[in-house]
C-alpha cells in the first residue's frame, strides 16, 4: 500500500493506505481520530464533516490520495480544549441528545461562520440543511449557530 503524508490538525501524519481509501476511515482506523463519524458513506448525512483548507468537506467521499497539499482540520483540532466559539455555544445551549452527529454539525457550522460573520436565520438553516440529526435537535443547533455568530462577531 502506498504511503501518504497528511497535514492534520497542524501535524504531519504518515499513513499507509490504498489510494481510494476515504479520509474518514484513515482518520478513524489508522490515526485514532474518531471524533469524525461514519453515518452514511455517501456524503448525505454530514456526520463525517471535516475542514479541508477551511472548507467543510465530507470525509467519507474524499480519497486520501488527493490530500497531500491540503490542510485538514478535524473536530479534535478545531480548538485545543473545546474553546472554539461554536463548541462553547453548543455547550451553552446544551445541544446534543445522543451526540453522535454533533461533531459534524460543529464542523459545518464553524466553516460556515468563518465565511459568514452575520448570518440571517434563513442562511443558517440553509447552511445546516446538509447535516442530519436523527434525534432532531435542530431547534438547538439553529440557536447555537446564532449564539456562536455573536461570540465570533
Amino acid at each position: 500500500m502506498p504511503n501518504y503524508t497528511l497535514n492534520i490538525n497542524g501535524k504531519q501524519r504518515s499513513v499507509s493506505a490504498d489510494a481510494d481509501t476515504p479520509l474518514l476511515w484513515v482518520l478513524r482506523d489508522e490515526l485514532d481520530l474518531v471524533g469524525t463519524k461514519f453515518g452514511c458513506g455517501i456524503a448525505q448525512c454530514g456526520a463525517c464533516t471535516v475542514h479541508i483548507d477551511g472548507v467543510a468537506t465530507r470525509s467519507c467521499q474524499t480519497q486520501v490520495s488527493i490530500l497531500s497539499d491540503a490542510k485538514i482540520t478535524t473536530i479534535e483540532g478545531l480548538s485545543e480544549d473545546g474553546s472554539h466559539p461554536v463548541q462553547e455555544a453548543w455547550k451553552e445551549i446544551d445541544v446534543p441528545q445522543c451526540g453522535y452527529c454533533q461533531s459534524g454539525q460543529i464542523m459545518t457550522a464553524s466553516a460556515f461562520l468563518a465565511e459568514n460573520k452575520n448570518p440571517s436565520e434563513e442562511e443558517i438553516r440553509e447552511a445546516m440543511h446538509g447535516n442530519i440529526c436523527r434525534c432532531a435537535s435542530y431547534n438547538r443547533i439553529e440557536k447555537a449557530v446564532k449564539v456562536a455568530a455573536k461570540k465570533m462577531a
Binding site: A17, V34, K91, P96, Y100, S103, A136, Y138
Partner: protein, 734 residues
C-alpha cells in the same frame, strides 16, 4: 413541610453501604428490587460490580460525589437526570457531582433497559430515597461526633449544622457514616425545597461530545482487533446457496472470509422474531474500509427460502384482515352493534403507514472477543441482559463468563433492543479466534432492519344527538399488534360503546419496537379521525376532546391508563399558549392530544402556505410529565420527539419489492432536515406529581397535529403516511 416516603422501597435492603479502602463511602443502590442479605459491597472502586446494584454512589473524604450509572444512554438524557435526583436529596452541589458510566458486568443483572420511557418513572422513589438515606447517615454520624441528637442537626449543600452553630462537611464524617445502619423512614424533600431538580443541568458528556472524544461503540478499539463487514441475504425470504471469495481475498487488507450462522440457529428460539436466522458471510480485514471493499468483491448465489413479499402484497394482506372478522378483541364496552344501528350518522376511515427503519445515526456495530473460558463484548445495546442470556446459551457458558460493556449510543429508537449485531460479532470472533468489530454500513443498517411494522387502522364512529356514541378501531399489522395497555388509552372510558380489535399477518420481514411503538402511528390516525368527527359535529376539535374527557374523570375502571383531568389541563395549556383559534389570517392550526408512556401531551401545529405549499412554522406543545427533573434535557427530548414525529409522518417512506427493501441510504430515504423543521415551543403543566418519561411521548401527537393543520390550510384530509406522497400527487408539494 417534609413528606414521609410511602413506598415499598421503605426498607433497608434496597441499599447497602461500605467504607472504601481508599477512603470515602460507597453506597450501592438497587432501584427496583431489594438486595438479598448475602449481597456484598466492594471495598474498592476497581471491583464495582453491578450484579446486585443498579448504581453506586461514592462520597469521598473531600465531599465530592461520584455516581456510577450503568443505565444505557441513547440520547434520552438519563445519564444526567437520574444522578440529579440523587444529588438533590443527598443535598450536595451539582457541580461537585461527577457521573461515570459504570463499566458494567451484567452477571445476574436483568433489570436495566433503555426503552419505554421508564427509567425516570421507575427510578424516582429509589433515587430520592437513596440520596435522602445517605444524607441522614451523614447527619447521624455528625450528631454522634458532636454528642447531640440528630434531630438538632440539618444538612445543606454538603455541610451539616447543629443548633449550637457547629459545622461539619460531609467529607469530615464520611468514614463514620459508612459504618452506620442504613436508616429507615427517611424524610424526603418537599418539591418546593428543590434546588437541583427543576434546574437546567447540561448533558454530562457535553465536553467529550463537542471535542470528539471516543464515546460511542464505533469508537471502541482493542489490541489485536480486526474489522468485519457482514454480507446478509439481500432479500427477506432468500438464503445463501454458494459463494466465491477469491476476489474478495485479493482486496488489500482483507484477512479472511468465513461463512457463519450456526450459533444463531442453535439459539433460534430465544432470538426468533427479532433476528434474521440465516447463514451470512463475514469479510475480515485490517480496516473498516478494506472489509467493506472486500464484501463488494464477493460473488454470491442466493436461493429462495420463503415467500418474497412486496409492499403491494402487504397491502393486500392488511386489507384482507380489515375486511375479515378474524380479530382478537382487546377491549369491548357497551354494545357497538346496537349503537351503530341507532346512530344518526356513521363515519368510517382507514389509515395506512409503511414499515420504517430506525436509522440511528451510529450504524449498528459491536466488539466481541470470544475466548474458550470468557467472552468480552463492548458496544451499543439497549438490552445487555438479554444479550448475555443468548450468548451464554449459544456458547454454553455461565452468565458470569460473559462480560458486557455498554458505550454511549448514537441513537437507539428501539433498534438496539435487538442484539443481532452483537450475536454476529461473537460468532465471527469465535470462528476466527480474534477480537472483532462488526460494523454495519448504512446500507446494511437500513436493509437488515428490525422495522416498525406496516399497519392499517380502520376506525368507525357512530354519532347521535351531537355526541360520539360508538367507536370501533380495527388494527391490521405486520407481525405484532399493539400492546395490551393501548386499548385503555383515550378514548376508552369516554365513549359508552367502544371496541378495539387487532389482527396480523405473519411476515418474514423482521419487525420490532420503534420509538413510541404502535402509538407513533395510532395517535395520528385517531386524532385525525377525531378532527373529522369534530368537523361533522360542528365542534372545535379540542372542545370535542374536552367534552369526551368529562366522561372518564370519575371512572372506577382500573384499566384506564390515562387521566381525564391531566389530559384536560394539558389541552387547556396548549390552546392558551398557541392562541388556538385566535391566530391571524394565513396561519392554519391543527390540534392533537395523546397520552402515551405515562405522559400526557397536547400539540398545536401552525402552518402557513408559501406559493400554495404548506410550511410548518411552529408547534406549540403542552406536556404533563409531573415534576420536570432537568428542564433543558426535557425540552430537548420533546422538541426532538415532535420534529422526529413530523419527519416520519411527512417524509419517510419505505417499501419492499420481492423481499428486498427499495431504500438503502439517505440519498433516497428521506429524514427530516433543518429547513423543514418548525420551531417547537414547549410548556410544562406545573404540578408536584412523580415524574414520568419523555423519550417517546412527544412524538405520537405530532403527525395528527400537522395533518389536521394541513386540512385546515388545503381542505385535504390525509390518510396515509408519509404525507408527502399524497401531497405530491395532488400537486401540493413539488
Amino acid at each position: 413541610m417534609k413528606t414521609k416516603i410511602n413506598t415499598n422501597l421503605n426498607r433497608r435492603n434496597f441499599l447497602k453501604t461500605s467504607l472504601l479502602a481508599s477512603g470515602g463511602m460507597l453506597i450501592g443502590v438497587n432501584f427496583l428490587a431489594a438486595c438479598t442479605s448475602e449481597t456484598k459491597m466492594p471495598v474498592d472502586i476497581a471491583n464495582l460490580n453491578f450484579n446486585d446494584f443498579n448504581a453506586f454512589i461514592k462520597i469521598s473524604d473531600e465531599g465530592y460525589v461520584t455516581i456510577y450509572s450503568p443505565n444505557p444512554e441513547i440520547g434520552q438524557g438519563v445519564k444526567t437526570s437520574m444522578p440529579m435526583i440523587i444529588a438533590e436529596e443527598l443535598d450536595v452541589e451539582w457541580d461537585k457531582v461527577n457521573v461515570v458510566q459504570g463499566k458494567l458486568d451484567t452477571k445476574y443483572y436483568t433489570r436495566q433497559v433503555a426503552g419505554g420511557s421508564q427509567s425516570i418513572r421507575q427510578g424516582w422513589d429509589a433515587l430520592r430515597t437513596t440520596g435522602a438515606s445517605a444524607k441522614q447517615m451523614l447527619i447521624n454520624a455528625a450528631a454522634l461526633k458532636w454528642g447531640v441528637d440528630a434531630t438538632n442537626c440539618t444538612a445543606s449543600k454538603g455541610v451539616i449544622t447543629n443548633t449550637n452553630g457547629d459545622k461539619l462537611t460531609y467529607g469530615d464524617v464520611v468514614k463514620e457514616a459508612a459504618v452506620l445502619e442504613v436508616p429507615e423512614d427517611v424524610k424526603l424533600k418537599d418539591p418546593k425545597e428543590y434546588s437541583i431538580i427543576g434546574n437546567d443541568a447540561v448533558n454530562v458528556d457535553i465536553d467529550k461530545i463537542i471535542t470528539g472524544k471516543p464515546l460511542f461503540g464505533l469508537d471502541y478499539k482493542a489490541e489485536g482487533m480486526v474489522y468485519v463487514s457482514v454480507l446478509r441475504p439481500p432479500s427477506f425470504g432468500k438464503k445463501l446457496k454458494s459463494f466465491d471469495a477469491s476476489k474478495a481475498k485479493q482486496v488489500n487488507g482483507v484477512i479472511d472470509v468465513v461463512q457463519f450462522g450456526e450459533k444463531l440457529k442453535a439459539i433460534e428460539s430465544q432470538a426468533s422474531g427479532f433476528t434474521r436466522i440465516t447463514d451470512k458471510i463475514a469479510v475480515i480485514a485490517t480496516s473498516t474500509w478494506a472489509a467493506m471493499k472486500g464484501k463488494k468483491a464477493l460473488i454470491v448465489e442466493w436461493e429462495n427460502e420463503s415467500k418474497l413479499e412486496s409492499t403491494e402484497f402487504h397491502n393486500k394482506e392488511l386489507d384482507a384482515i380489515l375486511n375479515s372478522t378474524k380479530f382478537n378483541t382487546r377491549r369491548e364496552d357497551g354494545n357497538i352493534k346496537n349503537a351503530f344501528a341507532k346512530a344518526d350518522k356513521v363515519i368510517e376511515r382507514t389509515y395506512e403507514s409503511p414499515f420504517l427503519p430506525h436509522n440511528t445515526m451510529e450504524p449498528m456495530n459491536f466488539y466481541a472477543d470470544v475466548k474458550p473460558d470468557k467472552i468480552h463484548l463492548v458496544g451499543p445495546t439497549q438490552t445487555p441482559a438479554w444479550a448475555q442470556g443468548m450468548i451464554a446459551a449459544a456458547y454454553k457458558m455461565k452468565p458470569e463468563q460473559i462480560h458486557i460493556e455498554m458505550t454511549r449510543m448514537g441513537g437507539g429508537f428501539g433498534r438496539r433492543l435487538y442484539n443481532d449485531f452483537l450475536l454476529e460479532a461473537a460468532e465471527v470472533s469465535s470462528i476466527i479466534q480474534k477480537p472483532v468489530k462488526v460494523v454495519f454500513s448504512r446500507e446494511d443498517d437500513m436493509a437488515a432492519g428490525t422495522y416498525r411494522p406496516a399497519i392499517k387502522y380502520r376506525i368507525k364512529a357512530g354519532l347521535k344527538d351531537g355526541n360520539v356514541t360508538a367507536y370501533h378501531l380495527k388494527e391490521a399489522a405486520m407481525n405484532g399488534n399493539m400492546y395490551g395497555l393501548i386499548p385503555n388509552f383515550f378514548p376508552a372510558g369516554c365513549i359508552p360503546n367502544y371496541k378495539v380489535d387487532t389482527g396480523n399477518y405473519k411476515s418474514n420481514i423482521t419487525t420490532g419496537a420503534w420509538r413510541a411503538p404502535y402509538t407513533n402511528f395510532l395517535a395520528f390516525a385517531e386524532q385525525s379521525f377525531f378532527s373529522e368527527l369534530a368537523e361533522e359535529l360542528g365542534k372545535d376539535h379540542p372542545t370535542l376532546i374536552l367534552e369526551l374527557l368529562q366522561n372518564v374523570k370519575n371512572t372506577t375502571d382500573k384499566r384506564i391508563e390515562y387521566s381525564g383531568q391531566r389530559m384536560e389541563d394539558t389541552i387547556k395549556l396548549v390552546t392558551e399558549k398557541s392562541n388556538w383559534g385566535k391566530t391571524g389570517d394565513g396561519v392554519y392550526q391543527g390540534f392533537a392530544a395523546y397520552y402515551s408512556h405515562n405522559t400526557h401531551v397536547a400539540e398545536v401545529a401552525d402552518i402557513v402556505l408559501k406559493d400554495g405549499y404548506p410550511i410548518i412554522k411552529k408547534v406549540t406543545v403542552a406536556v404533563d410529565c409531573g415534576i420536570v427533573v432537568n428542564p433543558t434535557g426535557a425540552i430537548n427530548q420533546v422538541q426532538g420527539g415532535v420534529i422526529d414525529g413530523i419527519g416520519h409522518a411527512m417524509y419517510s417512506d419505505f417499501s419492499f419489492n420481492e423481499g428486498k427493501p427499495d431504500y438503502e441510504n439517505f440519498n433516497k430515504y428521506r429524514l427530516i432536515r433543518m429547513q423543514e423543521t418548525p420551531k417547537v415551543e414547549v410548556h410544562f403543566v406545573e404540578n408536584d406529581k412523580s415524574p414520568t418519561g419523555l423519550g417517546e411521548p412527544g412524538l405520537p401527537p405530532a403527525g395528527g397535529a400537522i395533518a389536521n393543520a394541513i386540512h385546515k390550510a388545503l381542505g385535504k384530509r390525509l390518510y396515509k403516511q408519509p404525507f408527502v406522497n399524497d401531497l405530491k400527487k395532488s400537486a401540493v408539494l413539488g
